[in-house]
């Protein structure tokens, strides 16, 4: 496999885009990435676009072709990639594979979701399509309900508390307040988080990531291309993916995501590093409990200890590693198909020292962790300067 790097990033603001539609967001992120790479667009050979459910969210399928059309990149091949909330991370991985294998020299990995054109109930139903339609959704499960049941079990087995979950939200809002692209740029207090309305006990409103619109894109190229065009790059040191059962109830454990453990193990091995080498990471905090699972499953915290560590002030900006400096899914927002790509952009910006107020000083190794559904897909990337 060839060495592959990232040479351009484009990101829309995450949030409620009443004025812009699916195609405007896709075009904005794609063109920004090409511009950031200092390319004209003629160099791009293929597009991989992560999107979970445009069909149900805006009634539009055939997303690959739409993105190529909007970016003015016809007739290059354009492929939609779907793995629920991990669609974006998986688009990055498919793009990586296409360049690492030698098939292409320069491609775009993008991700997009337009979620606010439907009601909250419709969005909840659509998102639950990432779970088991026949054996979870049929019985009234929502994603909040599945993660609530994980949280309840984590509390039972390890003594994790609602205050520790709230501490994740407080930390990520603090980071989001420094991110001008974030859906929520306000700090919150522990009291606000703990007193927010119950969604699915023990999870409250502030334990949940919001329903957001947004798009993100990367230009990914071979080492040869990068040298030939004299571009600054962040290198993809590992790209790993693992799967697990679609339904939560079929797993051996409900307090660990086996796909995260496996993808993390493979990624560290590929990159030839250990978890201690990571300076900055974006992990999949679709719910506060999910950040605790990610920290434990990837090895940033001992099993059952992540809640106590965060409540004790760890993983905030300034600590090593800094976790979710973008604000995470919780505060930066979670346009599901775009999230995995945004995570990579946040880490690239950290490694290139162009992250402004939330720059982690001296960051050299970064990691992204993107989960689909309740853990049936996990994609992990390791990035280096």
């Amino acid at each position: 496999m060839r060495k592959v790097g990232i040479i351009g990033c484009g990101l829309t603001r995450f949030g409620e885009h009443w004025g812009e539609g699916f195609r405007e967001l896709a075009g904005e992120a794609g063109l920004a990435a090409i511009g950031d790479a200092g390319l004209t667009g003629k160099e791009i050979e293929a597009i991989y676009g992560g999107n979970m459910s445009a069909g149900r969210m805006v009634g539009q399928e055939h997303i690959g072709a739409l993105i190529a059309d909007q970016a003015g990149l016809n007739p290059i091949p354009a492929t939609r990639v779907e793995a629920a909330c991990a669609s974006g991370g998986l688009a990055v991985r498919e793009a990586y594979i296409s360049v690492a294998s030698g098939l292409y020299d320069c491609v775009i990995a993008g991700g997009i979701e337009k979620m606010t054109d439907i009601s909250t109930e419709q969005a909840a139903t659509t998102l639950m399509g990432a779970g088991d339609q026949e054996w979870e959704m049929f019985f009234g499960a929502t994603f909040a309900a599945l993660y609530a049941m994980i949280a309840r079990r984590h509390m039972h087995e390890y003594g994790t508390t609602e205050e520790q979950l709230a501490a994740v939200a407080v930390k990520n809002h603090e980071h989001g307040s420094l991110n001008e692209k974030a859906h929520f740029q306000n700090r919150i207090t522990m009291e606000q988080a703990l007193n927010s309305p119950k969604i699915s006990d023990p999870l409250k409103l502030y334990d949940c990531s919001p329903i957001s619109d947004g798009a993100a894109a990367l230009v990914i190229a071979s080492e040869d291309f990068i040298k030939r065009h004299k571009k600054e790059a962040v290198w993809i040191a590992a790209s790993a993916q693992a799967s697990d059962t679609l339904a939560l109830h079929s797993r051996k454990s409900f307090t660990t995501l086996a796909a995260s453990v496996e993808a993390g193990r493979q990624a560290f091995k590929q990159a030839g590093i250990s978890v201690k080498d990571v300076d900055v990471a974006e992990v999949h905090d679709c719910f506060t409990i999910a950040e605790l699972l990610a920290l434990e499953d990837l090895g940033f915290a001992k099993k059952g200890e992540a809640g106590r560590e965060i409540a004790g002030g760890r993983f905030r900006l300034g600590d090593s590693p800094t976790i979710n400096s973008s604000g995470g899914l919780k505060a930066c927002g979670h346009p599901v198909g775009a999230t995995g790509v945004k995570q990579v952009i946040e880490v690239v910006d950290q490694l290139l020292c162009r992250n402004g107020k939330r720059q982690v000083s001296g960051a050299e190794v970064g990691l992204t962790h993107n989960v689909g559904g309740s853990g049936a897909t996990c994609v992990v990337h390791v990035l280096r300067r």
Binding site: G59, I118, A124, F138, G140, A144, A145, K198, S200, D201
Partner: protein
């Protein structure tokens, strides 16, 4: 935006959802509910046979759903649980006839046959098992 489900989508699951019909691998003894087409341990070496489950189990974890998906708006708050069935499998289902604060991990439950949801005003009414305190 909402698409009504076809009759056959849920009709084909009736034996499993009405009678708790799962299956058992004759090779390794693993019990599956919902039934699987392939034993996940023995794969092609496994031989699967129908097995009717008794519906007894205990609450392994649970939540009270207050922000409902479509079709469940009239039932909130409702208790959703993962139940560990006596025969081994874990399954997601509602715990009914009980207040959320009365449910706890380890609570013994048994299955009952109930209405689950309505697919809009003019759609199908779906039935299956729920759980009650045993």
């Amino acid at each position: 935006m909402t698409h009504r489900k076809s009759l056959s989508l849920n009709w084909r699951r009736i034996p499993e959802r009405y009678q708790l019909l799962g299956n058992e691998c004759a090779t390794c003894g693993a019990v599956f509910f919902p039934p699987r087409a392939l034993c996940s341990k023995c794969r092609r070496k496994g031989t699967l046979e129908d097995k009717k489950l008794g519906g007894l189990g205990e609450v392994f974890t649970f939540t009270a759903v207050r922000s409902p998906p479509e079709g469940f708006e009239h039932q909130i708050p409702y208790v959703l649980a993962i139940v560990k069935l006596k025969e081994g499998p874990f399954i997601t289902g509602m715990v009914t006839d009980v207040e959320p604060q009365e449910v706890s991990i380890g609570m013994p439950v048994r299955s009952v046959f109930r209405r689950i949801s309505e697919d809009g005003k003019h759609g199908v009414i779906n039935y299956a098992f729920k759980f009650v305190r045993a």
